[in-house]
């Protein structure tokens, strides 16, 4: 199937390999120190200020899935006692620890700290508690209050900032390293620049045709976004990525030879069947022009940026309010509505993830909101982001095909 394969994809691979090499080096030599962190609304800038390398258990889990290696760790975790309906990310990650495997075959270091930046998902607390117990590493749970109104209160921000200072102190005690404020500001400045570039990339998808797929290609860009956001190589990567995609847009090139449909996708992809899933959309020349999943780590296309002048405050604000998972469902509705309207989409695809209550509970109502209230054609499909047992290819293909058949007839009827 036609899809965009440019410099971005090659460089992304290299950057991810670089990260795994740093983890491997840390495992072998104890340097640089490593800290476990979760993706959603992460505070990687704090770690970068110490030169600490982040371990993202979710990235390890999804890498296992995309390489078709997730089922065995999941079964291992289930044999160990994890329930079938537990988060499959957790089971793949824990199972991999139990089996002693990693996605790349390299080594993963023992973290000096397991830092649970709890953002919206309470399963993560249990996950990181287990990781800390298995690895005999100290645990710190950053208690980030759920966003209960449009903006966090000053007390919420102060509460998270106070915890960030405590995290800094804990890291100093554990590693003997001194916190470097200049380095912290520099990391925050890198993030600010990456966020600006990433936001501009995302706005390129407002054009018709969109020069990239803001779901499938965005996932490619999300690796460097989380792993290298606060580093100069991250800034460099996103600067060149923007240039490449702007050039593509200037030439009027889309994802396919012809862009027949524009959709917004909600929910993570079925990683074990990533290619099969992508081809279902490619068959219809359907481009995702926006996606909510690409905002799990941070929601930047609506203007928020980290600020080196207020580093702790903006790291706290990012964790509290500017990532998908710590926001309310109504805010998510609004985010998708803006995508549909401002990115000129024909419809919405909702991918329900069986083993993730956080992401998926309420998506039936979401479908009703878009179809019945806004009149936006919306397709609802179910599988899982990590567990291959939940992916029924024929059924999903049937729904996707039927959805686009209906959209096609609708467009045809309007054109006639």
């Amino acid at each position: 199937m036609t899809e965009y394969r440019g410099w971005i994809h090659q460089r992304q691979k290299e950057l991810m390999q670089q990260w795994y090499a740093r983890l491997d080096e840390s495992a072998r030599t104890g340097w640089p120190p490593a800290v476990c962190l979760m993706i959603s609304g992460n505070c990687v800038e704090v770690l970068e200020a110490f030169g600490i390398v982040p371990i993202y258990p979710e990235v390890n889990a999804l890498q296992l899935a995309i390489r078709h290696q997730s089922l065995e760790p999941i079964l291992t975790a289930e044999e160990f006692g994890y329930a079938t309906d537990n988060c499959a990310y957790v089971k793949a990650d824990i199972g991999a620890y139990l089996m002693g495997v990693t996605p790349t075959g390299g080594k993963l270091p023992r973290p000096v700290l397991v830092l649970c930046n709890f953002v919206g998902c309470n399963t993560y607390i249990k996950w990181f508690e287990h990781v800390a117990a298995f690895l005999e590493a100290p645990l710190y749970v950053l208690d980030v209050p759920f966003l209960r109104s449009e903006e966090p209160s000053p007390a919420d921000v102060a509460y998270v900032v106070a915890q960030l200072h405590e995290v800094v102190q804990r890291i100093e005690e554990i590693t003997g390293l001194r916190f470097d404020m200049d380095r912290f500001r520099e990391a925050v400045r890198c993030s600010q620049q990456v966020e600006e570039l990433w936001s501009r990339i995302k706005h390129l998808a407002q054009r018709a045709p969109s020069p990239f797929d803001a779901y499938f290609d965005a996932i490619t860009l999300m690796g460097p976004l989380y792993v290298h956001r606060a580093r100069p190589e991250g800034v460099e990567f996103f600067r060149l990525a923007l240039a490449e995609l702007e050039a593509k847009a200037a030439r009027g090139e889309g994802v396919y030879d012809r862009e027949d449909f524009r959709v917004v996708i909600e929910g993570p992809p079925p990683y074990p069947y990533f290619r099969v899933f992508r081809d279902m959309f490619a068959r219809w020349r359907a481009t995702a022009v926006a996606s909510t999943y690409s905002t799990v780590g941070g929601l930047w296309e609506f203007g928020f940026r980290h600020d080196p002048e207020k580093p702790f405050e903006t790291v706290a604000l990012h964790m509290l309010a500017h990532n998908l998972t710590n926001r309310s469902y109504l805010q998510r509705y609004d985010q998708i509505r803006r995508y549909v309207q401002q990115w000129h989409a024909d419809g919405v695809i909702i991918h329900f993830v069986k083993s993730c209550r956080l992401f998926s509970a309420g998506q039936g109502d979401m479908r009703d909101y878009f179809t019945k209230v806004l009149g936006v054609p919306t397709l609802y499909i179910e599988s899982d982001l990590e567990d291959p047992r939940y992916f029924a290819e024929a059924q999903i293909r049937n729904r996707v095909d039927a959805f686009f058949e209906a959209l096609e007839r609708h467009k045809h009827a309007i054109a006639m």
Partner: protein, 270 residues
């Protein structure tokens, strides 16, 4: 006269319909075979049987559209369309006032909201579970030692229907056995089985607008007990065509005819 065919490869049975495209499309022939393990073979058998029935040579058919789960396996077909679009199209052709299609097949149940022009507006389906589908009825019939064809009419003789606690195709067996052990009559058990499916289907239907007229399609529409149970739970009349089982193949044939009229070559999309 233009000739077109639709081949609907379902999970249980494969259906074929041949259409003559005069001013008003006309059904020339129908054929039905069990799908079995060889999907392409079943599609060929059904198609050739329909051609024979119509007294036509297969080469005379100008356009063939495949539908159903095995649609991509209909190697001799010129295009594929999902059975969701095809059932909507077929039902609208037979009953133009159709706005809602309920299709219960061997392993799935769908409810389709149809526009006045016969196109799909929205649809919902059961997910990865054959609960409340034709398979559920087949299992119930088997446990009771009855023929699938007779359970519908038998269910209408119920006087005191049982309340089934499950629509699970696997667990229904133990439920039925426990009612038999309690001495309940097979007709009362069967009525309970039909009502359980009807309730599940209607709860599926309520996720999208249920707009009359309602047309019931798919193999299970031949079951008179199911028609009555659905009407009772919905509180609305339901129309069933003698061709209900062929509605997917008919819709596919109509799409094939449309492609001929639009001058589309085999293999092109839309």
């Amino acid at each position: 006269m233009r000739l077109a065919a639709g081949v609907d490869v379902g999970s249980t049975q494969t259906k074929a319909v041949i259409l003559a495209g005069d001013d008003e499309p006309r059904i020339l022939a129908r054929a039905l075979v069990d799908t079995g393990a060889h999907v392409l073979r079943a599609a060929e058998l059904a198609f050739h049987a329909a051609c024979r029935e119509a007294g036509l040579d297969p080469h005379e058919i100008e356009m063939i559209v495949g539908t159903g789960y095995g649609r991509y396996r209909v190697a001799f077909g010129h295009a594929q369309v999902t059975e969701i679009s095809c059932h909507a199209r077929g039902a609208h052709f037979v009953f133009p006032e159709t706005r809602t299609v309920i299709d219960i097949g061997g392993q799935d149940a769908k409810v389709i909201h149809v526009g006045s022009e016969g196109a799909v507006r929205d649809f919902v389906m059961n997910d990865k579970c054959a609960a409340g589908t034709g398979r559920f009825l087949a299992n119930a019939a088997e446990v009771l030692g009855l023929d699938l064809e007779e359970i519908g009419s038998l269910s209408l003789r119920a006087t005191d229907p049982v309340k089934l606690t499950t629509v699970c195709t696997v667990f229904v067996e133990s439920d039925i056995l426990s009612y038999l052990a309690q001495g309940r009559r097979p007709e009362d058990i069967l009525r309970g089985v039909h009502l359980a499916i009807a309730r599940r289907t209607v709860s599926l239907a309520r996720r999208i607008p249920i707009e009359p007229a309602i047309t019931f399609t798919g193999g299970v529409a031949r079951n008179v007990g199911m028609v009555k149970a659905l009407e009772e739970v919905l509180g609305l009349p339901i129309q069933v065509s003698p061709d209900s089982h062929f509605m997917g193949a008919l819709g596919a044939a109509l799409f094939a005819l449309e492609r001929l009229e639009r001058g589309l070559e085999a293999g092109t999309s839309s």
